[in-house]
Amino acid sequence: MSQESPEAAADQAQPPAATEPFILFDLAGATYAVRSAEIQQLEMVESVTPVPNAPAAVDGVVSVRGQVIPVVNLRARFGFERIAIGLRSRLLVVRRDGRTVGFLVDSAREFARIDPGSIHPPPEGISGLNGRYLEGTAHLGGRLVLVLDMTDLFSPDGLEFASPPPAATEPGESTDP
């Protein structure tokens, strides 16, 4: 409570223009932040239906609100070991360029506002390697948060998922801050 009260106070005290809303999720022991605007919704995952000839990081497909979307295992995508799906596992449903993809993460339980000015670029040693996924790092209440850039996750290099999503025509969904 003592940690949350100042955060809540900061949420209310900070003007919306200065901060951007982020969803925080956990993956392989690290906390990532992704812009709330990029997330369509979060879903609990019960079972993933495997599909043949799927790319290495794709576990299969799930049906979300009547729509079948591919499930990209971010652990596999980032080169970590897969873990079993549990009660806290979440699916970040992202819609971009008419494609909707579910990213499977260990858990996603927090909503936070982060000043973009406080986001530091990634360290030199890893920029060349992970720069396409990582926008930078930020400190949030003493925690180091990796700010994720979803763009490259949708690139053909990062995700060899050739088939265009069938229901990619949901209009006005390209939100921004």
Binding site: A8, P21, E43, M44, E110, F111
Partner: protein
């Protein structure tokens, strides 16, 4: 359980040691049986030997009687010998007298011969003178012719003297014949003395033979006495062996008694221990039964607690399901609040209030999620505890079951141990009773064996006394034998002396024969001399005739005188020869006298020898008297031997009759076997 086993093991060990002692007892009894049978055999052998010794002693007595008879015979023979020796001495004295006579006559003969010799020498001298005269005659033949008448007268005188000579020679011849007769008498007397000496030698040899017979009898007696002594020594050794085996039996019986006493003590100890053991086992059984009851209660309560814990585990699982549900609800609430926040952010300012609500909802959901997580952790810990409790309860139940089974096994074992202890205490009581009986029996065995040892010692001592008496008897017989040997030696010396006497007598006879022969030769020489004197007389006669013829023819006188001279020379020679013969005769007579002297000395020696014979015979008689006396002593000793042997036999029979022999070990064996049969379980 371990202490019961230990005590049980010790009881078994004591019983085992009792068994071992009993077996040893049995072995000792068998040994005693063997020793007793051996003793019995030896007693029988001893009895047989005593019988044999008694028979031999009887033989000894009989042979002693025989030897006494023989000694009497010997005494008689010795007396005969003494009388014959006396006779012989008398005859020798006669011979001596005769020999003295002979010597005297020989001396006379010698004197006569000397006289004849002298006369012969005179004759020779006369013949020499005659030869001178004849030479003178021859030289003065012419003158002689004138004095032939006177020569004739001289010749007549010569003739007369020759006749005298012839007469003296004839006298000599007669005396020589008398000498020859005396020599014959001497030879006869020597023969007589020889035969009587031979008789004496024969009687001495007889005496020697009887003395040898006596010595042989004494030897026999000695040998049989030595045999008796040896057999008595054998009896003594056997008695000592018996004594030793009886002593061994006594020590064995004492060991037996001591071991039985030990066995009794250990049996009493075992009874004591068994009683304590029985009480301990009963107490242990009660304790085990109590523990079995306690264990069954423990098992029941364990089972109850296990079921309670299982129930609790089931409940906690229920709680865990509820917590999961709450957790799921919390997660969903969180998800919905996040989605609401996303929507509110997308709505911009319009969604600000909604975002706050969503924020609050997310906080509540997080708090409930944290609470449910804590509850879940608690529940999980509780479930682990419950699982542990269930496992421990079932383990405890298993342990309790096992303990119950083990306690029941222990109880059964204790019951068996109690039964075994009762049995073993009964056995121990029986062992104690049997050992007490064995102890009494062993004490009586020890007493009996001690009595047997005492008797055996007495037998040994008596046998040793017998042996000593027999040794003395042996020594006496040795002395007897020695005196017999001395008698035999004395008799042998007598015999040798008699043989020497015989030889001397034979030599005397030979000498007498020589005397006779030389006398005969002398007679022959005298006869020749007589013949020569006769021829001389005839020559003198023819000289007379020739002188008569001389007176008739004067021319032939010279030749005749030469012939006469030659004749006278030959006469002179003959006279020389005659003189030599006479000298020989004289020498012979001297020899004869010497011989006679020797004869006389030999006879004196004979007389001395006869006296010695008489003395020796008397000593023989004395020896024989001693032999007879010792014979009597021997007889008495042999009777003592017989009596001692009879006593020995009685004592041996008494020993057998006292059933010290075969009956004793049989009793030991019965005594030993009875307890041994009782304690075998």
């Amino acid at each position: 359980m371990s202490f019961l086993t230990r005590w049980g093991g010790n009881g078994a060990g004591d019983a085992g040691s009792v068994r071992v002692d009993a077996a040893r007892l049995l072995g000792v009894a068998d040994e005693a049986t063997q020793a007793a049978s051996l003793q019995d055999e030896r007693a029988a052998a001893q009895l047989r030997r005593v019988d044999a010794a008694a028979a031999r002693a009887g033989e000894v007595v009989r042979s002693l009687g025989e030897s006494a008879d023989q000694a009497g015979e010997v005494a008689t023979a010795a007396e005969q010998l003494a009388s014959s020796a006396n006779e012989m001495a008398a005859s020798i004295e006669e011979i001596t007298a005769t020999a003295a006579n002979l010597a005297a006559s020989v001396a006379e003969t010698g004197a006569a011969v000397e006289e004849s010799s002298r006369s012969i020498q005179q004759v020779a001298a006369t013949a020499g003178e005659m030869a001178t005269a004849a030479e003178e005659v021859s030289a003065g033949t012419v003158q002689m012719a004138a004095s032939v008448k006177s020569v004739a007268g001289d010749t007549d005188a010569l003739s007369t003297s020759v006749a005298q000579l012839a007469a003296s020679v004839e006298e000599t011849s007669r005396s020589t014949e008398a000498l020859a007769g005396n020599a014959d008498d001497l030879a006869a007397a020597a023969e007589q003395s020889l035969s009587s000496i031979n008789e004496m030698a024969a009687s001495i040899e007889q005496a020697q033979a009887s003395a040898a017979a006596t010595a042989a009898a004494v030897e026999q007696v000695s040998v049989s006495v030595e045999e008796t002594a040896r057999s008595v020594q054998g009896v003594a050794q056997n008695a000592e062996v018996i004594a030793a085996s009886v002593a061994t039996a006594a020590s064995g019986a004492k060991q037996l008694e001591a071991s039985i006493r030990d066995a009794a003590a250990s049996a009493a100890q075992a009874a004591d221990v068994t009683g304590r053991l029985s009480r301990d086992a009963e107490e242990g059984g009660a304790a085990v039964e109590k523990s079995i009851q306690g264990l069954s209660r423990v098992r029941t309560s364990m089972a109850q607690s296990a079921s309670v814990v299982r129930e609790m585990g089931k409940r906690s699982a229920d709680i865990s399901g509820i917590v999961d549900t709450i957790n799921l609800i919390a997660e969903r609430t969180n998800l919905l609040s996040l989605n609401a926040s996303i929507e509110a952010a997308r709505a911009g300012d319009a969604g600000r209030g909604f975002a706050v609500v969503a924020e609050e909802i997310r906080h509540l959901a997080d708090r409930s999620a944290r609470a449910t997580a804590e509850i879940g952790a608690i529940i999980r810990g509780l479930q682990e505890v419950v699982q542990d409790a269930v496992e421990q309860a079932s383990e405890g139940q298993r342990v309790a079951d096992e303990s119950g089974r083990l306690a029941e096994d222990g109880l059964a074992g204790l019951k068996r141990i109690l039964a075994g202890i009762e049995q073993s205490s009964a056995h121990v009581e029986r062992i104690a009773r049997a050992t007490e009986e064995q102890g009494q029996a062993a004490r009586s065995v020890v007493e009996v064996v001690s009595t047997a040892a005492e008797q055996s010692r007495q037998v040994t001592a008596a046998t040793r006394d017998q042996a000593t008496a027999l040794q003395e008897l042996v020594a006496g017989s040795v002395t007897m034998r020695k005196s017999g040997v001395q008698v035999a030696a004395a008799l042998a010396e007598q015999s040798r002396a008699a043989r020497e006497i015989v030889k001397a007598a034979q030599a005397t006879a030979g000498l007498a024969g020589q005397v006779r022969r030389s006398a005969t030769e002398q007679a022959a020489a005298t006869t020749q001399m007589t013949q020569v004197v006769e021829s001389l007389r005839r020559g003198a006669a023819s000289t007379s005739t020739a002188l008569a013829e001389q007176s008739q023819g004067a021319e032939r006188i010279a030749a005749e005188t030469g012939r006469l001279t030659r004749m006278i020379a030959s006469v002179s020679q003959a006279m020389g020869e005659q003189s030599a013969s006479a000298e020989q005769i004289a020498a012979a007579a001297a020899d004869m006298r010497r011989q006679s002297d020797q004869t006389s000395r030999g006879m004196a020696e004979q007389a001395r020898a006869a006296a010695e014979i008489s003395t020796a015979t008397q000593s023989v008689a004395r020896q024989i008297a001693r032999v007879t006396a010792s014979n009597r002593e021997q007889t008495a000793g042999a009777r003592q031997i017989q009596e001692a042997l009879a006593a020995l036999r009685e004592s041996v029979e008494a020993g057998r009759a006292a059933e010290v022999g075969l009956d004793l070990p049989e009793r030991i064996r019965l005594l030993v076997r009875a307890p041994a049969g009782r304690q075998g379980y």
